[in-house]
């Protein structure tokens, strides 16, 4: 197990370097970021030259990248154009997004898996058809439509929630945005669990468990569900990264100042330091989440061993 983890961690290094380099190049292709700083006029040449020198933009690209990576390893992610260190932006943005992701994942796990088990066990019954139809609708409607609709209905018409999330963004205020963010994945989790459960219901070990006289609840939870969860865990694991980086739309609708907001602003203002910094951390999150998923396989299915 230890050696396996070590090998996986080592594999992350080339992925990490490659990903950051690609992002660095892409942001640079967009051109000179200083030009956008002076509004509808050209920055005076002296100030522009000095700003470039201060942000290191006058150096060749490979040197900029080398300096940047050197700084990253000492924990310095550079400074945004408004004078704030990128680490400070991260310290405010990531807790919010992690909370939002957590709410979304809880919804996926609790609602998605429950619905999946219920429909998987009652295939072809009305409840199954109803849930299938529901998931189809959720999958086909874009997130921003669901988001704006819920915001208007719950926030303005019925006055149940605040239409926007205040800057503190506590867990209870993130319930509706979390649901919106989770909606599509939730539908997929339901469908994955349903298929998996329905398939394994006829497996030998389930029949054995029933024949042993185990209570139905124990058969379903300990034997059937546990073995059916592998594809679902894979999906949720990769979804963590997607939810954190892909929350731009949801965060915009509900005015949440998380990672999506910082990335959006960073791209608009062509702020290399912010964009590369945040994406680098997201790449790391993605890699770690994938590793955790692989390790969870062994927990769920004792036949899987890592050496």
């Amino acid at each position: 197990m230890g050696r396996y983890i070590a090998r996986r961690l080592l594999q992350m290094i080339p992925v990490f370097v490659g990903a950051t380099l690609l992002i660095f190049l892409m942001v640079n292709v967009m051109g000179d970021p200083i030009a956008g700083l002076c509004g509808e006029r050209a920055c005076d040449t002296a100030t522009a030259a000095q700003l470039k020198r201060e942000f290191g933009l006058d150096k060749p690209l490979w040197q900029q990248y080398a300096t940047y990576m050197g700084n990253v390893f000492t924990g310095d992610f550079g400074t945004a154009f408004n004078g704030q260190p990128v680490t400070e932006l991260m310290a405010t943005a990531f807790p919010v997004t992690i909370r939002l992701t957590l709410v979304a994942i809880v919804f996926e796990v609790v609602i998605g898996i429950t619905l999946g088990v219920v429909t998987g066990l009652r295939r072809g019954r009305p409840v199954d058809t109803a849930v299938l139809l529901g998931t189809l609708v959720v999958i086909s409607v874009p997130t921003f439509v669901t988001g704006l609709l819920l915001q208007l209905l719950l926030g303005v018409k019925w006055d149940w929630i605040r239409p926007s999330v205040p800057p503190e963004a506590t867990l209870d205020e993130l319930i509706v945005p979390g649901l919106v963010l989770a909606s599509v994945s939730l539908a997929y989790v339901t469908r994955l669990t349903r298929t998996s459960i329905a398939e394994n219901r006829r497996a030998d070990y389930v029949r054995t468990a029933v024949a042993k006289g185990l209570p139905r609840r124990r058969v379903v939870v300990r034997h059937l569900l546990r073995n059916s969860l592998i594809p679902v865990v894979t999906f949720i694991g990769t979804d963590i990264g997607a939810l954190m980086g892909g929350a731009i739309v949801t965060e915009r609708i509900f005015n949440i100042h998380g990672v999506g907001y910082q990335l959006y602003q960073g791209i608009l203002r062509q702020n290399t330091q912010t964009v590369v910094g945040f994406v680098t951390v997201l790449v790391l999150v993605f890699l770690v989440a994938n590793l955790l998923v692989d390790l969870l396989y062994a927990v769920l299915d004792p036949r899987i061993r890592y050496a």
Binding site: G31, R41, N82, T92, V96, G155, P166, L268
Partner: protein, 539 residues
Amino acid sequence: MRARTRVTWALGVVAAVLPLAACGSGVGAAGGSVLSSSWGDPQNPLEPANTNEVQGGKVLDMVFRGLKRYDPRTGKAENMLAERIETSDSRNYTVTVRPGWRFSNGEPVTARSFVDAWNYGASLRNNQKNAYFFGYIEGYDKVHPDTGRQTANTLSGLKVTGPRTFTVRLNQKFSSFPDTLGYAAFAPLPRTFFTHHKAWLDKPVGNGPYTIESYTKGAQMYLKKWNGYPGPDKARNDGVTLLVYTDSNTAYTDVLAGNLDLVDDIPAGQLKNVHSDLDGRYINTPAGILQTLAFPFYDKAWNTDGARKVRTGLSMAINRAQITRTLFRGTRTPATDWTSPVLGTDGGYKAGLCGRACEYHPAEARKLVQEGGGLPGGQVRITYNADTGSHKEWVDAVCNSINNALGNDHACVGNPVGTFADFRNQISRHRMAGPFRAGWQMDYPLIQNFLQPLYYTNASSNDGKWSNKDFDRLVDRANAETDKAAAIVLFQQAEGVVRDNMAAIPLWYQNGSAGYTDRLHDVALNPFSVPVYDEIRVG
């Protein structure tokens, strides 16, 4: 047993992640007659000489008062901290500061507060983006040379002559110089700005009617009424909470739900239902913003006498009235000169100065384009940035109008650029192949500000590199003219040169718009489209 250890291990991972998610910063807004208002994250550090956009300007307008202040209704520059500003030759000025003014930390505002602040703003080493505002003061070329290191740290044209008096010597005659002093870059600064710069940036200290009580960067700012404010324009509410919104649609929805008191940018998509949504709590007032189409005069094809006719023809092919009515629903009005109605007629605004050239005459447009040798390259591509301000919609509408007038479906197409930064970048590298979007938001309400920075040879915002000796000469004469009315006549003559050459096609004057909840009264926008916060009453 084996299974159990694995499960506890998995729980451990979850437990390790949870605390990360649990911490959040708590900033509470105070009750009472405090209002909340939409805001955008300022692009630059909040220093007066470094703030060149509306969002940062909003805060500076609440926290600072300068020598002059532009009247929120008329836009006229009136003395604020200045007791008097005297000159006999439009070049040497003596400024006397009123007694009794203080910064909110108790420090008195003196002549030195101004001189130190201006020297800081002009100095190249401080990277202040508004440094060029000090370019009229003698010695600017020493503290802010175009290339190389600065050879002086202070402007030789500024001298403190007493606790409340200082003199300014300009490098040329500039009669309306005192009227430019209401701009935020000329604000006074307390000593702590220089001695504890980092702390000051986290919580700026000024001399305006509000003090900054708390500031969470990127999220919100709470400004409290300063009870000891010595000025005449004391705040009529207890404070203002500015909340950062990424999307003005969300801010608008929040106002509908009563969750936010004031939104000062109504999204274009909501304009058709704003009257019924807000039941009259909607204001739409002219602002000092003019939208134009500029041309690349560095491109030979656009710099011929024939091209002049083509430009005038294009201008006559744009149905401004229809576009402003259907697309902008009255939040913009067709432009008929190169200034703005907020200047007022005695400030130099002259409706109809453009004449027939800014009216819709499709047949004449077609004739002029033909006489001018046709469109350069057979097609015009209007370049614009697609990320903000619904530019795509109006560029498409303008092109449509041109295509219809010229009877050619391919006469005009839009050429979107992804981000504003990239758009500015292409402009500054002179990459424009045809007309491009140019918006001008005035710095101060003077006709000079609508002409000189945009059309004077090599001026800071003369992006198309237009150059005309007659225009330059008239502007020089106008700046040297001590009589205000005479100066305005000269500026209008210079504007006539712009018209005769159609150096840029004026499109429309832009209004500022805002919506508010029924808690608020006396809501108004100033000519810079910023809400006049100190006059708002709550309850």
